[in-house]
Symmetry: none
Subunit: 221 residues, 2 copies
């Protein structure tokens, strides 16, 4: 899962970014409306946190442009002003959720997770692979017998994305776009290496290779 934060307050932005990174997301941070609007239009994010009071270009204008271009990425709006009117305006511009400053990081997290879940295909309520269940909060695998298997950050990000798109051919490009943040565009075989590790954890049959096309994750064999 790859997120974009558009926030001009550098302190707040960095704090959020750090937190979300720790939660296992790939995160890009933009400090103004121009950058943010451009990134959101060209990179495939799974959700966006958008501040309304931005230099360069107002947050609402950025959002309206995305929506006009048919970009339906889930957007959570963030603003100091939390009056009734702003909220309505934000939602009308195409926002999916709204959070007034100041706020608890925990609440932001919860709302983001809700957005991501809502956008995911309906079928995946629980993310499973055979006897294993992915615990998102703790970033680890839990077996039905209670046994635990910890994951590294990258293993977790890749596995979560695979699990959210089961039974679908996912190209290595697409995977690396969603596992890494902006500077990505890798000509390397990192994805192959991590696929190998996930296979050794979950069983090789969970991740099929489609030669020349990508990988397919199977929650049931």
């Amino acid at each position: 899962m790859r997120l974009l934060i558009v926030e001009d307050d550098a302190t707040l932005g960095e704090r959020l970014r750090a937190r979300l990174l720790r939660e296992g997301y790939a995160v890009d941070l933009a400090a103004d409306g121009i950058d943010g609007g451009h990134l959101g239009a060209t990179e495939p994010y799974d959700a966006v946190v958008l501040d309304l009071g931005l230099p360069g270009k107002p947050g609402l204008a950025v959002l309206r442009e995305w929506r006009a271009a048919g970009n339906e990425v889930p957007v959570l709006i963030l603003t100091a002003r939390d009056g009734w009117a702003e909220r309505v305006e934000g939602l009308q511009a195409g926002a999916d959720d709204y959070l007034g400053k100041p706020f608890h990081e925990e609440e932001l997290l919860a709302r983001l997770q809700a957005l991501l879940r809502r956008a995911a295909p309906v079928r995946a309520l629980e993310m499973r692979a055979g006897e294993w269940r992915l615990d998102e909060a703790r970033q680890c695998l839990v077996a039905d017998d209670g046994h635990e298997q910890t994951l590294t950050a990258t293993e977790f990000r890749l596995l979560r994305y695979l699990m959210r798109h089961p039974d679908e051919v996912l190209s290595k490009t697409r995977l690396s776009e969603h596992v890494y943040d902006y500077d990505a565009e890798r000509e390397s075989n990192v994805i192959e290496v991590y696929v190998r590790r996930l296979r050794s954890l979950l069983g090789a049959e969970r991740i099929e290779t489609r030669r020349g096309q990508g990988y397919v994750f199977r929650s049931r064999s």
Copy 2:
């Protein structure tokens, strides 16, 4: 499915080409309006991605020439300028869809797929062959009883093209033009070989031979 990209930005063009290849299309790339216009006029594409800001000849002129010549290939226009006026002008010149730069690769893909689906003569919601259904997301065959049969990249491309043109005589030349790229000048019997493999998967009666003319795909016997 065979696509043409007319795009002067070499980086963007190559990136798109690579992506679309990976998605299982055969892709030709032209860097200016002259080449692009010529290719589009002489080769049988299933869809075209056309940049408007081209050296040599303006994209809109290219499009107008195709349309004037009766070429009705689906065209998706791509442009940096995304003003209201350009959009109208593009659509009036005969474009089928319009995407402003910058854009998501994912969105371009989705729109292309929509165009290709819309353009298919008999818009079969599902592509079937007897008990089999072709699942595009998974690039595999699914039987009514849930059993799956995976396809290689080439098998998938050929079968998809056959299924999109059922009950129609398709010459080997035409098939190979749509399964492979432009420069692929084949004097070989690859198509015969792949037809054989599809027959062994779907049942020989699905693909009839018309001696000296080509093949006919039958979704129902």
